[in-house]
Amino acid sequence: MTTDTMFRHDALLYAGLDDFVARTAVFVRAGLRLDEAVGVAVIEPRASALRDALGDDADHVTWMDMAEVGRNPARIIPAWQEWTESQAARAFRGIGEPIWAGRSDDEIVECVHHEALLNMAFADVPWQLLCPYDMDALGSDVIGHAHRTHPRVMDGEVERDGRNAHADDYAATLVGPSLPDVPEDAERLAFRSGELASVRALVRRLLPDAPRAHVNHAILAVSEIAGNSVVHGGGCGTITVWTEGGAFVCEVRDAGRVTDPLAGRRRPLPDQDGGRGLWMVNRICDLVQIRSGDEGTTIRLRLSEQPAP
């Protein structure tokens, strides 16, 4: 196989805004010269700075606000899938910056999983995705992850080998790292088939004064995850709920096993039977963390009061 038939997933290590603009603009213009479709998903101020630098060329780029698309990192792969599939026969390339300074530790963990899963989701799709990492603002641990999730790393003028994608890396996204401890005062409820209404009542009790839309989203997300426990997780589970800095957090444990690392990241087909619960939960929530192994499955959801898209 030549590189033209494969997914090329590069990390771009840059230092500061000017370096970002200089190097991503070259990548964008190279694509436009080849008449490729170019998609850029980054956050401010980099989006505006790159747009300004590109001048009229910016009009030929599809701009996606990564702050919105990537608020839940599990929504980024479906967004790229939708965009790439809309290109028909045209070649395409993209810039995607899922990790930025200011992301929480939990978000960064899931962003690293997202970077690994891009290799799985697009293994057979010939396109180039460049993922900028800000060396000035991100910790060395984050840069280390970039080396492990990208087969190629552009570091200054040097092109280094990263780590080639491996099935074990995909499976590992379901295993760890382990989630932070549940607060001791969190409310806990065991449930089984026929008791989903009491699970919803628990969420309503926890959010007595929250806006109706926020409560509805929390209830739907929790209902879907608990419903998965009933159908796939041995018929029962345990739910724990708490609030954290204005966000609703919920964890559901059951005896089931999630084996598909891309679960919840594939847009369901209209006549497909299952596989919608996690998809919907990813659309609604700001962060969804799945950990699954021999001892069962834990899914933790976070939902802030900001309305979902």
């Binding site: 088939s193 026929g194 008791e195 989903l196 209404a197 919803r200 839309a213 509805n216 209830i219 739907l220 209902s223 879907e224 419903g227 009933v230 159908v231 847009r267 369901p268 087909l269 209209p270 006549d271 919608r276 619960g277 998809w279 919907m280 659309r283 609604i284």
Partner: protein
């Protein structure tokens, strides 16, 4: 009007004409079978469109939406399942689930005033 199912969570009333059901409360994985069975019964009793009034429904999960989608699909091609008094939120969920173009499924939003 006839109550065909009622508990603390969900009440299903049969309406006619037009034939259909009015749902009160919450429809979820646990109780959607009660909605399914009455819609199946009505779909064979008449040849008309079926109506599902969700104006008094304050929660529906994906299993509940699937019940409506499957009921619409089961109808003959010239018949429709009309979901009436649908909230904006319900319409949004149907879109998110990828069911907004289901043949035979018609969503009618709540009319104000």
């Amino acid at each position: 009007m006839r109550i065909v199912y009622a508990d603390d969570v969900l009440r299903v009333e049969r309406i006619s004409p037009p034939p259909g059901v009015r749902l009160f409360g919450e429809v979820d994985l646990d109780n959607c079978a009660h909605v399914r069975s009455v819609l199946i019964a009505q779909s064979v009793e008449t040849a008309a469109d079926l109506y599902v009034d969700v104006g008094s429904l304050y929660f529906i999960d994906v299993a509940g939406l699937r019940t409506l989608v499957e009921a619409a699909r089961r109808l003959q091609p010239d018949r429709r399942l009309v979901v009436s008094s649908a909230s904006e939120e319900l319409c949004r969920l149907v879109r998110l689930a990828g069911w907004d173009r289901t043949p035979g499924l018609v969503l009618r939003m709540v009319k104000s005033g």
